[in-house]
């Protein structure tokens, strides 16, 4: 079986890339070992956030945010998106200075989406924050979406564009040929294509080794939690902190989704995650300090998903320097959800040999080798 482009990984990055390529006339086959949305794409915290991103990602995030509004047209679903301003709190003057500097830096680069706000505005946005908070930095256009719905909408849209999505189909062998690639799946079938895209998320470190282009992507199990309904506690505003680990997302139903970098031990081979209850105790302490009213809240559930991470916490997006015809889009380090729409677009551009909308130099696959030298 033949296609122009073979994409391994049916998560958001794989499907976003597939949709764009199919719309530009390419035949695409997606190989998904489980089902779309089984791992990080469908089980992340749902934050659609520009706030607080690494500067290297900002141009992409700002453009991507516009694309989130277009989802009803582009993927025939709103993906459950709604605006919930993301307010990053300063808990002391030193942190406030960090936030002021960040805004100055962003402004100097021409970005105005993050705004320093005083205590009055903090209290207007989030009336229940603790007394020690001194100010904040807010992105009014940030929001939340439903990751499972988004993953399924992307997969369905890809299907409508003629992309062949092979679910429960594991790629077990890749051969590099003079004309492209030969893939063998666990059921013994062989697929051929000129171009190969690695969008295997948590598995992309391992998969890239199989391709002869090893990447330093390591797996992690970001751990999220959710509280019972706490009506009016968040006032629709999501919160982050400047000096400590915590992200509190104001879900529309009144529950609070807790994220912000908690991790659990895991075994990628056995696909098993042991949710570390200490993460709950740590998060709870900080939550009560920041929103004292949460002492009456309950933790309802934790969950975790496999994600691919890199040491410098920005992804790998680009063509392989080792294997011609191979492209990577992986290692989003637990904040790729918001970036999926724009990544699909720039990936399709570089696969077609076009200039990407934004330079991808910071995300080069070989950037780690250069550091060693």
């Amino acid at each position: 079986m033949k296609a122009d482009v073979l994409i391994v990984g049916g998560g958001l990055m794989g499907c976003a890339t597939a949709i764009e390529l199919a719309r530009k006339g390419k035949s695409v086959t997606v190989f998904e070992k489980d089902v779309p949305g089984r791992h990080a794409s469908g089980n992340n915290s749902g934050g659609v956030r520009c706030q607080g991103r690494d500067l290297r990602e900002i141009p992409f995030a700002v453009e991507s945010r516009k694309m989130w509004d277009l989802h009803p047209k582009t993927v025939s679903s709103d993906c459950g998106f709604y605006v919930s301003p993301r307010l990053r709190l300063a808990e002391n003057d030193a942190e406030m200075e960090v936030l002021v500097k960040r805004q100055e830096k962003l402004n100097s680069l021409g970005y105005t989406h993050e705004v320093v706000v005083d205590l009055n505005e903090v209290r207007r946005l989030s009336p229940n924050v603790a007394d020690h908070v001194v100010g904040g930095l807010v992105c009014y256009t940030d929001g939340l979406a439903n990751p499972m719905l988004t993953s399924k909408a992307y997969a369905a849209a890809a299907g409508r564009e003629g992309v062949q999505i092979l679910t429960r189909t594991r790629v077990v062998e890749v051969q590099t040929m003079s004309w492209g690639f030969k893939l063998r799946t666990a059921d013994g079938k062989v697929y051929e294509g000129e171009t190969l895209i690695n969008a295997t998320g948590a598995w992309s470190g391992r998969f890239s080794e199989m391709l002869g282009d090893p990447l330093p992507v390591f797996s992690a199990a970001p751990t999220m939690m959710v509280t019972d309904r706490m009506a009016d506690m968040m006032n629709g505003t999501s919160l982050g902190l400047t000096g400590r680990l915590l992200g509190l997302m104001a879900a529309q139903n009144g529950t609070i989704i807790v994220g912000g970098g908690y991790r659990s031990p895991h075994d990628l081979e056995k696909e098993k995650i042991w949710i570390d209850p200490m993460q709950m105790t740590k998060a709870s302490k900080i939550m009560i300090e920041v929103l004292p009213g949460l002492k009456d809240a309950q933790m309802i559930r934790c969950w975790a998903a496999f994600e691919g991470c890199l040491a410098d916490k920005v992804p790998i997006v680009g063509s392989s320097k080792q294997v011609p015809g191979l492209f990577h889009v992986c290692g989003f380090s637990a904040h790729g959800f918001q970036l999926a729409p724009i990544m699909g677009r720039v990936m399709s551009q570089i696969v077609l040999g076009q200039q990407p909308d934004f330079p991808l130099d910071d995300f080069r696959p070989d950037r780690f080798e250069q550091k060693v030298k």
Binding site: K152, P277, M280, M287, I288, K295
Partner: protein, 469 residues
């Protein structure tokens, strides 16, 4: 507080008590952890504090539980009441909340004796105040002698229905109807197992006597008793006011301010699933049962399961299963030689075997009727999030066949009960709508904490912090 033990036993019902007693008798260090404030589990709930009058009403089957409580108490094992376990791991770690703080215990072995729960079956009006389970009613009586003073209807299938009817009749509660939903066809189906059951003639007679007693007393008190009932519905605005149902083509209606329902008992497997015990679909009980050997072993070396949590067999069987598990762990920890184990376990196995003789008959007779889950589209399935059967069917029609995915999108099973009340029904809806064989459908996953824990309790954790990764 001491945190390391040879074994942590979760649940102080007959299985947990017997298992802990066996282990302490062998000189092992055991902590028995339980949510309630006194030992006994659900079946022997509040047994050490119940009044003589309550013992008289509940009968000798209840009072017999004092034996195993005494055996445990005199054995001197550590007993941790009012302690809610919300996560366990195969490493032997058990996480709990107690008196406003959370903490961790560690056992070389953990024994999960989590008991049984009533099979949650949605029906129109089941979310109305005043609707509760027969087991819930039984607990209220055991705890505080509470008896309904207003009109009450009892409806369902299984021994618990007759037991609660017997108690409420004895207590002169104003019962307006007793409704048995067991389909006639199942009586015929069960008859092929009657031979085995009759080997426990005493047991069968007890059941027959109980039902006959309820029938006689109901007749005397002019309480209507109907069989082969279907289409149960609770009707009311702010709480249940009437109960309607069908008997063949006839519609029956009764006044009620309390409706007691029971559609059988299933193992309470929340903690078992969270810890990673393997489960297998049981097509007769229409439930995922844990894979547990007679001696309590699971797929996880350090995790044992005993009592009704492995399969509902009743209080005496639970006690025997608990004993066998205790003996097995004692052998693992070299407190019993193989020969001693064989000698001590043989009589327990013999008693358990006898106790299990009538089960195939009872299980066939009271197997969940398939039509139980023939839910109307407007019936609420997920109580926490008010999701109807119709809404779930829409997603199944779109091709969703995984409760976990449906949950992530429309939140059924995402509330505080973590799907305890809706997962059986959602599973049946998926099987109905997809045509897939039930055993091939992905089970609903459980994540810790299996029960809500307050943030304050978590923040007050009395455990060391892990290194940041």
């Amino acid at each position: 507080m001491k945190t390391k033990y040879d074994a942590i036993v979760v649940g102080a019902g007959p299985a947990g008590l017997a298992c802990s007693a066996e282990l302490t008798a062998k000189g092992l260090d055991v902590a028995l952890v339980d949510e309630q404030s006194s030992p006994g589990g659900q079946i022997y709930r509040n047994i050490t504090r119940a009044t003589v009058n309550r013992h008289n009403i509940l009968g000798s089957d209840y009072s017999e539980g004092l034996q195993v409580v005494k055996e445990f108490t005199e054995g001197g094992g550590t007993y941790l009441p009012r302690t809610r376990v919300w996560q366990a791991e195969a490493t032997g770690d058990v996480y709990f909340s107690r008196d406003g703080y959370s903490g961790a215990l560690h056992g070389e072995y953990i024994v999960l004796t989590t008991g049984a729960m009533e099979r949650p079956v949605p029906f129109p009006g089941w979310t109305l105040p005043g609707v509760m389970t027969c087991g819930g009613m039984s607990n209220l009586f055991k705890d505080s002698g509470l008896v309904p003073k207003q009109p009450v209807v009892i409806c369902g299938s299984g021994p618990l229905v007759w037991l609660v009817a017997e108690h409420l009749l004895a207590l002169d509660a104003p019962i307006t109807a007793i409704l048995d939903t067991t389909p006639i066809s199942q009586i015929t189906a069960a008859m092929k197992h009657v031979g085995g059951a009759l080997k426990r003639f005493d047991y069968m007679m007890k059941g027959i006597k109980m039902i006959a007693g309820v029938e006689a007393k109901a007749r005397k008190k002019k309480v209507p008793l109907h069989r082969n009932i279907s289409h149960l519905e609770a009707i009311g605005t702010d709480r249940v006011e009437r109960v309607s149902c069908k008997k063949g083509a006839r519609t029956l209606s009764f006044e009620a301010s309390t409706l007691l329902v029971s559609e059988g008992i299933i193992p309470n497997t929340s903690l078992l699933r969270q810890v990673g015990v393997k489960h297998t679909w049981n097509p007769v009980q229409r439930f995922w049962h844990p894979d547990v050997t007679l001696e309590g072993r699971t797929n996880l070396d350090s995790v044992f399961v005993a009592g009704d949590g492995s399969f509902v067999h009743g209080a005496k069987s639970a006690e025997y299963k608990g004993r066998l598990t205790g003996l097995t762990i004692a052998r693992e920890l070299h407190r019993l030689s193989d020969q001693q184990f064989a000698e001590q376990s043989a009589p327990v196995k013999e008693k358990l075997k006898r106790e299990l003789l009538p089960r195939p008959f009872i299980d066939a007779l009271y197997a969940p009727a398939k039509k139980l889950y023939a839910l109307a589209d407007d019936t609420i399935v997920c109580r926490c999030e008010s999701i109807t059967a119709g809404r779930i069917r829409e997603f199944i029609a779109e091709g969703y066949v995984d409760h976990n995915e449906i949950k992530a999108i429309i939140r059924c099973g995402m509330g505080p009960c973590q799907g305890r009340m809706c997962s059986s029904a959602v599973f049946e809806l998926i099987a109905e709508g997809s045509g897939l064989a039930p055993e091939t459908i992905r089970q609903h996953r459980l994540r810790p904490p299996i029960k809500p824990v307050s943030l304050q309790e978590l923040a007050n954790a009395k455990v060391g912090e892990n290194d940041e990764s």
